[in-house]
């Protein structure tokens, strides 16, 4: 007997690479100027699901809501060992805040048979850590957040250790549950060779359509549709067509989606100017180093 896992993942701009060049004048970040990556803690969530599958068996579905380009990240998840990938893409999702996002995701997850839903603790672009907990609420399942270690999984009971900031807490719960996973939980595996060799040609329907349009710039809409259908059916034969859902497919109430479903208001944007500041010479002695360390602790740069 195995466990069915659904892993919620997000494609994010690589915020580690923020430099002056990618900032707008108003203090926001030019997302397109940064490489899009797999949100790091979502990789930890996927790794935890893979470890559960390695040990007990089961099926892993990865799900993301995003632009068609997020298909690349779904392929990455397939390379690492996910069994199935689903892209939720719909223009009407645009401008969704965490409330609307978790609503849309909950509609999708309800269509999937799962024992354990896993999310990264938080995404590095928004750093809210809200979507996982909100999703659990909307699904009506128990949530265990900030997981550092899955201690035990036996029958329908899960025990996990969660980080509570100044210590840890062991929590036992009955499945189904939603877990949010921290970066300390594990070290994600890399892509597996044979899975990569197979799934490198996997596409989502919207990618198929984009590809057909680029390859046939003069074709009319009807022809494009036909060609796309043909290509998709070929991919299905090989098990290489990723699933794609829009808001109708997940039966979402449009009032709760996108702009209209997003009550979050931006209060203020602080413009951060990245510039080199003064340098200081520290004496290469015990006192010099210890003085610097104390200063950094006082400034809360290091804990």
């Amino acid at each position: 007997m195995g466990y069915n896992c659904v892993v919620l993942i997000k494609q994010v701009p690589d915020t580690k690479r923020i430099t002056g060049d990618v900032m707008n004048d108003d203090g926001t970040v030019k997302r397109s100027a940064l490489p899009a990556i797999f949100n790091p803690e979502d990789l930890n969530a996927l790794e935890l699901a893979l470890q559960i599958k390695d040990k007990f068996g089961g099926h892993i579905t990865v799900l993301t809501m995003g632009l068609p380009a997020a298909s690349a990240m779904l392929r990455d998840a397939l390379y690492r060992g996910a069994d199935e990938a689903i892209l939720i893409t719909d223009r009407r999702c645009a401008a969704s805040d965490t409330l609307a996002t978790s609503y849309i995701l909950s509609c999708a997850v309800k269509k999937i048979d799962f024992d354990i839903a896993l999310c990264g603790r938080q995404a590095i672009d928004g750093d809210t850590a809200q979507v996982g907990p909100q999703l659990a609420e909307k699904l009506g399942v128990t949530q265990i957040t900030y997981i550092e270690e899955l201690t035990e999984l036996e029958g329908r009971t899960i025990t996990a250790r969660r980080n509570i900031g100044n210590g840890w807490q062991q929590v036992k719960a009955t499945l189904p549950v939603l877990l949010t996973v921290t970066g300390d939980a594990n070290e994600p595996r890399v892509a597996a060779a044979k899975k990569m060799m197979k799934h490198k040609s996997a596409l989502s329907p919207i990618e198929v359509e984009q590809k057909i349009r680029t390859e046939n710039p003069d074709a009319g809409e009807v022809e494009i549709k036909e060609l796309a259908e043909l290509k998709c059916s070929k991919l299905i034969e090989k098990g290489l067509l990723m699933k794609q859902w829009d808001l109708d497919a997940v039966e979402a109430d449009l009032n709760w989606c996108g702009q209209s479903g997003s009550p979050t208001k931006v209060h203020r944007i602080q413009s951060v100017v990245l510039a080199a500041k003064e340098t200081r010479q520290i004496e290469p002695s015990e006192e010099g180093i210890s003085g610097m360390i104390h200063e950094l602790i006082n400034d809360k740069v290091i804990a």
Binding site: A192, M196, M197, K198
Partner: protein, 600 residues
């Protein structure tokens, strides 16, 4: 994100420059597997795409996961427990698990056993990338030749029993060859193999210096013909650890601490024979050793690359006499030599691996699917013979050159760092310790020279260089090619002289002869790189920071070829002169020159 494939522009350049398509075509037997296995490539372009994706992913694993653990692996080492089991260093155990998940433990095994069926050329790249992260781990990742030997020579039943597990990373293996009195001379192996009345085989005796002897699949060379001394009395067996396999001791070594070196006592251990009796050493172990030698060359490349990078970085940042020390001529020259020798080794190793792919591929085609057309068959046979000869010369050359080079580079890396390099604060001391074994195991440098010099003196080298000289080169390297042609003529003179003096003299001057041949071959390979069709820009760094300048790799390789070939030309002259001087004092005056054996 550290990625040891992506951050190495020479490997990436060679990936595009060398002829991977032919290797792919031969390995995939004209892409016949695509219908049967959904991951098998349908054409050369797809195969090459697969190779690069896997190297990229392995590069990430090595940079992000394996390299950060290598220091603690070196400190921790392995522990022999009281119950005879071995506990590996934590970092090695974790890395083995990750390598299994990455599906790279059956790198060259056929698709039908769950392997990737990749060419040796790509495997050599992978071994270098991994060894740069942790040289000791290479002794597990890089010894996939054990599985390859089972694949090549064992019965279908044994293949089915073990090969799937190798590919899945569930088992690791060991080549159990060396004994206290049988090191370089494996013909002296004594460990006894005997049969009971039902024909079951058993092993009895002691093996020593067994790398990864605690692995789960042991290939054991043993004397199956008690009345027959020498190599023809030996057969190869496979067995698993169990109550009759006792690991008695782990060696306390200078380097590669993450790799357990075991002494094993086999106490009537049940085993199965690989292939036919009496072919153990002469056929199977020779083939196994050839693969392992290429593996050690790759390991040497990785260690040298790691050590060079530390020196390059240090020389750019360390200030003495108010300047970065790389401004000092003596340091500058050391770094250039290190870098050029690394790229020379890489060129030689990849060329060797390419030739081995062709050798194995043609041999396989001849055995399984010979063409009916007579001239075609003859062509295939000629090719098989040609590449077999070339591989038999190039394999020991690569092992010899890369391992000696790696020792020079790690030595100089410490030298560039000065006092700091001698301390354990920097990894170059570890690299130097790890490097030291590479000229010793899988055949010492001296034995590699003995193997290579036969090829040099039998005409194989001349033919091989003749073919290299016939290739298309750019006009810019014309004068360099002339220098290489002159060098080749001088080498011929030396060979003619040596042949008159006999075999003993040939072995005495084997090293300079092989050195000359390698210098010339590498010279041609560099000229080929300088004439490449690959368009690739490489950054020119200034004091460790990119100043925005870049030059075509082709241009850089032309500079490198020029420096390499002009630097070697006078050395070749001197070596030829030395060989032809006819000094036989090593034979005539040995006792007087070395003095008496030191007493108590």
């Amino acid at each position: 994100m550290a990625n040891f494939y992506r951050d190495n522009n020479d490997i990436q350049f060679l990936f595009r420059h060398v002829d991977l398509a032919t290797s792919a075509e031969i390995c995939e037997e004209d892409f016949a597997f695509a219908g049967e296995f959904d991951h098998a490539p349908a054409d050369a372009a797809e195969a090459i795409q697969n190779y690069e994706m896997v190297l990229d992913s392995l590069g990430e694993l090595c940079g992000e996961f394996i390299a950060p653990r290598s220091e603690s692996v070196d400190r921790e080492g392995n522990v022999l427990n009281e119950d005879g089991t071995v506990t590996r260093a934590k970092g090695i155990a974790e890395a083995i698990e990750k390598l299994g998940q990455a599906e790279v433990m059956g790198f060259t095994l056929p698709h039908r056993f769950g392997g990737l069926n990749f060419p040796n050329l790509v495997y050599s790249m992978a071994i270098e990338i991994l060894s740069r992260a942790d040289a000791a781990l290479m002794n597990i990742f890089g010894l996939q030749g054990i599985a390859e030997t089972i694949n090549a020579f064992a019965s279908e039943e044994i293949k089915q029993k073990y090969l799937h597990d190798f590919s899945a990373g569930k088992v690791t293996g060991a080549m159990v060859l060396t004994e206290p009195d049988a090191g370089s001379d494996l013909q002296a192996v004594k460990l006894r193999a005997f049969q009971d009345d039902d024909g079951n085989w058993f092993l009895h005796g002691v093996k020593r210096f067994i790398t990864n002897g605690c692995g789960q699949v042991l290939l054991v060379l043993a004397r199956s013909e008690p009345d027959r001394s020498g190599g023809l009395g030996l057969s190869l067996f496979v067995c698993e650890p169990g109550p009759t396999v006792h690991i008695r001791r782990l060696e306390d070594k200078l380097g590669i601490h993450g790799s357990p070196t075991c002494e094993i006592f086999f106490d009537n251990t049940p085993c199965e024979i690989i292939g036919e009796r009496q072919r153990g050493l002469v056929t199977y172990v020779m083939s196994l050793m050839n693969g392992a030698r290429i593996g050690i060359a790759g390991q040497s490349m990785g260690i040298a690359e790691a050590a060079y990078r530390i020196a390059r970085d240090y020389a750019a940042t360390r200030k003495q006499f108010a300047v970065a020390i790389e401004k000092l001529p003596a340091v500058r020259k050391m770094l250039i030599d290190m870098k050029i020798d690394i790229e020379a080794g890489r060129a030689l190793l990849y060329e060797t691996s390419r030739v081995v792919d062709l050798e194995l591929g043609y041999a396989r085609r001849l055995e399984t699917n010979p063409p009916e057309d007579k001239p075609e068959l003859k062509q295939l046979k000629d090719n098989a013979r040609k590449y077999k000869r070339a591989a038999a010369m190039l394999t020991p050359m690569s092992k010899y050159y890369c391992s000696e080079m790696c020792n020079r580079v790690t030595y100089d890396s410490i030298q560039v760092l000065g006092g700091s390099g001698y301390m354990r604060d920097y990894a170059c001391e570890r690299h130097a310790r790890d490097a030291r074994i590479t000229t010793i195991y899988e055949g010492t440098s001296q034995l590699q020279v003995v193997a290579a010099v036969r090829g040099v003196c039998s005409g194989t080298a001349e033919k091989f260089m003749g073919e290299l000289a016939q290739q298309d080169y750019d006009a810019e390297v014309k004068d360099l090619l002339e220098m290489l042609a002159e060098g080749t003529e001088k080498l011929k003179e030396a060979i003619a002289y040596v042949k008159e003096q006999g075999n003993e003299y040939m072995d005495l001057y084997g090293r300079p002869l092989v050195d000359i041949a390698i210098d010339l071959i590498n010279g041609y390979l560099f000229c080929g790189q300088a004439s490449t069709k690959v368009q690739m820009e490489v950054p020119v760094l200034d004091n460790g920071t990119a100043n925005g300048k870049s030059i075509p790799m082709k241009e850089r390789k032309a500079m490198l070829a020029r420096r390499y070939i002009t630097r070697n030309a006078p050395k070749i002259d001197a070596m030829v002169e030395l060989v032809c001087a006819g000094d036989k004092s090593a034979f005539t005056d040995y006792e007087a020159l070395v003095g008496p054996v030191p007493g108590e």
